[in-house]
Symmetry: none
Subunit: 566 residues, 3 copies
């Protein structure tokens, strides 16, 4: 058999890039959720791929691409361990790896929507079922020679086949598992639950965008003949739709929420990518531009709809990005497909005078696949929920965080700040505990002098000015602690992804000073001068008594111990 | 038309890699700046690419590569939406995407140099103008058939065309926007402002280095004939210059600063990459080695020069890396270009006996492009600064951080440490807040009464319930601190990678309350009801005396200062 | 000379991917170690590649692939700066860059195993020696035409040549440098030292897996003829072994440790990748599946063996992942190699009836290479240890962290939480000043058993010793808070990128203790003994009164509530 070098290389490089999407999903999902679940979410991302790979090889691939059976239009022929041949221009193994990484993408989408409360064991089970059956069967309809593909349904790289399958499974799963504790108020108002690293979330989006060039571009599965032109155009349409969707999402959020929303704009870029995936080969760059614009509206209003109307809690926006933008992109392909872009010349976009034939087939495909996934995954999630395994962790586990309860990780960032917390009790070094060193002891020369502790709680941005002012009156010793707090100022309202956030506890700094020589009133007056604006949130000052102070280096106590500080 | 499979594939893979540089820039820029601006900087990185993509498609590409006009040497022909044909060996769409990602690289460089104080709206505007006009016009001179290219100016992959354009725009922009608050002392001494994640910064550098193989390697835009050899050599020269520059930067910093400086060495690697970009095809590996060494001196002394002599505040070193190393690399190409490496056989490096002809042309190109960018961007930045929009945020916004002021993000790491801060006030679980918490509140107080501080140390997952319960008895002011501690519960044993972990100090929260009107015993009873389970680890309550409290906003003291809290 | 476009492109893309492994290693190693060493570990990752690149070009490559000398089977011919020709289907420069990145992989493995206590200068020296001599010589035996390759030893992409070389060097190095302070108890029990970012560690694993498609796939160094099929199969076997190993590692840890262990499962995926590397071209997908299963057992029990039996401290599991799984994978190739997969038709796997010939050769190769590396690196590490340079930092430096002691980085996350710590002392605004109000003095006397709060503020690296000392006098309850502060020690000056940094507020810990039965003076004397060095920065002790303490679990108050604490 004579295979094509360039076609095979193109498919393999594409497979590597689509694999790397797992890293992108892992970063997006962990960045947009809370630190207490960080280890759990990366573990889920790792395991859906790791479980999906052997599953798809053993079972799924045959169901999707196997051809020799009676009900070929609905389900492929079982081909245990992929022993058949499926292509002439490149080896079957190249097709297998390429399709494996696509299958894993569908499975991994669900982990984000159901994050922070879904049991790990339940997750493993339904990931297995998506890879083994749900994805391969609807995949067979479209790409495996099944009835939808025969009808002329056009889903080039998988807006429906991959993304909407993941998105619909997300919707059903997130609805059945229920919202996270605290997501909706008693009145049913949605509350934002900010994630723990916007930077990792953004990194994930950049990784996904990068990999999408493989996802869409390599879906030509060829780099010869017309596919040279096709692949080049796909790179342009894919990139243009993503960029345009990001720009328009930014503007929409700027208008709706008064400020450009970072995380929604990141979702907007992904929505553009998902939406262009179905028709990236069939539309013009101008078509991609329009699809990008539509995707931006779909994502902003779609995420708000899911969150506020359906009241389905989707921590990362997966339902909007993959489900809604996937469906929209598939249908838009029926509107913007260029004449001559389809095998059947009667099929082309409504916008070019193609009438409702193609757009109808596209809509039919969307509905059929959505129904298939909703029903099957609805059954799967319900069965898991009712079984001994259960779909959701206990409330106390959810509050404590899934890292500790599901994986025995005290924290995914255990060492982050306190780097000596786990160290050696038998520690020996060149500075041993001085057992026989004479420590100078100086008696307090003014035993009657009262010492006072002054504690200030105020906003972080006042710290430097306060420090400088205290310095100017002779106080140079102080201790600063990051705290959360509020007094009168009971949180302020802001918008996060269109949802009002009431953060009851605000970040503050606590500054502790001990004074003796300098009169406390002088210190308090100075602090007040620096902090006063007349607005709520100026801060409070607490005064209390200190019995003694010891300076370790000199052994001085009381008044003397403080003389370098004030 | 018969295109080349391998040439097209090479260009497309290169385009994907150069796109991924955006992730590298985002990580470098956010890692080397402060946490309070993390969301803002990734948003800028996202938007320069997203704005640049449609802009370059609509306008910029035509200006850079369009050929049919009268002043062809200075500016290309406008080609709205890129409808012309520009190459014979691969589709125009492949050229478009490849050039789009190069254009975006030039634009994104500026965001780092002007980080932490430049308005987001201003950023969007000048990013648009760089992509639409500034970059395409000087790009036309060099790569689009313009006068510099005709002269024999050699800038293979863009040390000048891309990097120096970004670097000069950075210098002009950073100078006009002015240094960050606190960057220079009153005496004008430079102060370091460390970033918030050296690890993300390093990740960014590794990503950039990886992508540079696409940036330089795929700039052959061909993988046939002599370009096979050329591309292979480019991989070697690119890598060798980067590695050598990193090694020498390390040694220089080791000598100058006594210890090997990590962030400067990371910059050194990037400087080597920028410097080799102009001549990566024309010099030998040995030439690349020398260029890497020169780049290391340029970066260390260049960054110090910009920082201490010019007193231009460049948080990430972009002016040095892209501007100075870009200029140096372009000129060094005139010194180390091998005989026969240029179309015009009379052009080759000074070091090989080529005289000053080539190095003179290289220097001319550097000066011309630098002047073009300095003048046009100087005008752009000045106009924005004088307009209603403004170039810089207000001092108070800068100190508060641009995440909150520009994007309404409380923190890009909102959840990082205190994972229960935003949780449910209607929280229901198997341990509900005791409904019999209706403890009679007796006003034992009057102005001048005793004030008491109550400190609770307990598990983090009790925070929300405690907060709710305290609220219900009228206490709304409190301060929360993350602490490590243990009392009776001397750590518990868990397994980490099969090893028992004894964490002696467990994460806890400390809650401080000051009461006056409400009797301390009432508060203590309430706390006990909420925290009590009968298990070890329920927590402790500490009671101490407070002499006075001052509310800064109102000047109230003692009893009065606490009335909104209780 | 007529080179192949596709072969060259395949090799170059592979080289770029294998380069990117450096990012993966950097993230895995920094994520699995402590924050105080984060900058040091990424610097080591950067420098092993940066030192290795020119070294391999100048010396290593010739030793590995040079052919024209008398002892050709043992060592290649020196070829300074790689001037010879080494291949017919692609340029020598393509081979050079491909082999350079493989060499760097071997070197970088060691940094993880010896992390958190190895001197940076020592690291640079042995990295140089690995790249110059150790790796090239055993590499010559296998891939450079040497005696092992001649025997029929099959190590397709480097389970032994690359990974086991790194793994054995890790074992020898980690054993000679000794365990980190605190890793083993006095009784020799292993203790876990959790890292500072599981998410970055997971990102690193995803990056490595992605790059492994280049590592194994591009090791065909050809994409023509049979290699089209071979490369496609390699993608499948590589991916399948990794996924299977991850799944089985998860199950093994679930059974052994009761919960699925995230970091061990991440190591499991890497072990699968390392193990399949030797035979990825020679085994069937089913063979890869079995190799993945074996790798999962090797990694779990191997890491436990190294940790608990050998008592070698390997913070990231490099010895298990690269050493043990590398050896296992090489030998398993002798069991599962398909008939006809080797040049010599008599060589194929034991499982297919090939007898012990091939598996014997594989085992011989493993033993020979392991011995070579163990002896040479044993000498290298011992010489460095005995030299003036030294292999390990001082205990005090290790406890303080290598970022500050080796690189003058106060913290790699200096700005992370306290974003205003370095700001402007000359900041002026227009906020008005409030009027003064007299503060009433509140006197209060309290009855009952006296309880005293003792607050210590000192350096973080004193925490463990203080904790131990307080334990020894009966105080077991305490609370630790990370604070910023200074007294006499008003910041110290360090250099960051050539700029003096004056950090006025230094990271400190605050420790709070409440005592009742134990006399406060006893506690203070103990604290003074532990903290005293006579240098500025020893810390301060504050003593104040506590009115009451309540233990929630028992309801005890005052004296009684403290009895388990003191």
């Amino acid at each position: 058999m004579e295979f094509s070098s360039v076609d095979t290389m193109w498919v393999l490089i594409g497979a590597a890039l689509v694999f790397f999407m797992q890293a992108g999903f892992a970063m997006v999902e962990t960045g947009f959720t809370r630190a207490k679940n960080a280890g759990n979410i990366v573990m889920k991302n790792l395991m859906d791929f790791s479980i999906g790979t052997p599953t798809y090889w053993l079972v799924g691939f045959g169901i999707m691409f196997g051809t020799n059976n009676a009900i070929n239009g609905l389900i492929g022929n079982f081909d245990f361990m992929v022993r058949g041949n499926y292509d002439d221009t490149f080896p079957t193994m190249a097709l297998l790896i390429f399709q494996t990484v696509f299958c894993a993408t569908a499975a991994t989408i669900v982990s984000g929507a159901m994050a922070e409360r879904t049991k790990f064991s339940a997750y493993c089970i339904y990931s297995f079922l998506i890879s083994a059956l749900v994805y391969p069967i609807s995949g067979h309809w479209i790409w495996g020679g099944g009835w939808l593909g025969e009808l002329g349904f056009h889903d080039f790289a998988g807006s429906t086949t991959v993304h909407m399958v993941g998105g619909v499974a997300s919707l059903v799963g997130a609805a059945i598992v229920g919202p996270r504790i605290g997501k909706y108020s008693e009145k049913g108002e949605s509350r934002a639950i900010p994630g723990h690293s916007l930077t990792l979330g953004a990194l994930g989006v950049f990784i996904l965008w990068f990999c999408w060039f493989g996802f869409n571009g390599a879906s030509t599965v060829s780099m010869t003949g017309d596919n040279i032109v096709s692949a080049s155009k796909i790179f342009v349409t894919t990139n243009l739709a993503a960029a345009t969707a990001a720009v328009f999402t930014m503007f929409i959020t700027w208008i709706r929420y008064k400020k450009p929303d970072v995380s929604m704009t990141l979702n907007g870029a992904l929505a553009g990518l998902v939406a262009i995936t179905a028709g990236c080969d069939a539309v013009s760059p101008f078509g991609a531009f329009i699809i990008g614009i539509v995707a931006s509206f779909v994502i902003v209003f779609g995420i708000e709809f899911v969150d506020k109307v359906l009241k389905v809690d989707d921590p990362v926006g997966a339902i909007g990005v993959h489900g809604l933008a996937g469906a929209a992109g598939t249908i838009l392909t029926g509107i913007f497909a260029l004449p001559g872009s389809q095998e059947d010349p009667s099929l082309f976009g409504l916008a070019y005078g193609g009438g409702f034939k193609m757009v109808g087939i596209q809509a039919l495909g969307v509905v059929a696949v959505a129904a298939w996934v909703a029903v099957t995954m609805g059954i799967v999630f319900t069965l898991i929920k009712k079984s001994k395994i259960g779909l959701r962790v206990a409330p106390a586990e959810e509050i404590a965080g899934m890292d500790i309860t599901e994986h025995n990780i005290e924290s995914s960032y255990a060492d982050f700040m306190i780097s000596t917390a786990v160290a050696d009790s038998k520690f020996k070094d060149s500075e041993p505990v001085p057992s026989n060193v004479a420590i100078p002891v100086v008696n307090n020369s003014k035993p009657g002098a009262k010492m006072t502790k002054i504690t200030i709680i105020t906003n972080q941005n006042k710290l430097t000015r306060l420090h400088t002012a205290l310095d100017s009156i002779g106080i140079t010793g102080l201790t600063v602690t990051n705290v959360l707090g509020h007094g009168m100022q009971k949180g302020h309202t802001e918008y996060y992804r269109g949802t009002p956030v009431t953060i009851k506890l605000l970040p503050k700094v606590q500054i502790d000073i001990i004074v003796c020589k300098i009169p406390p009133q002088t210190v308090i007056d100075t602090i007040k001068k620096v902090l006063y604006t007349g607005n709520i949130g100026d801060g409070k000052i607490f005064v209390s008594d200190i019995e003694n102070v010891v300076k370790v280096r000199t052994g001085e106590q009381g008044y003397d111990a403080l003389q370098d500080n004030e």
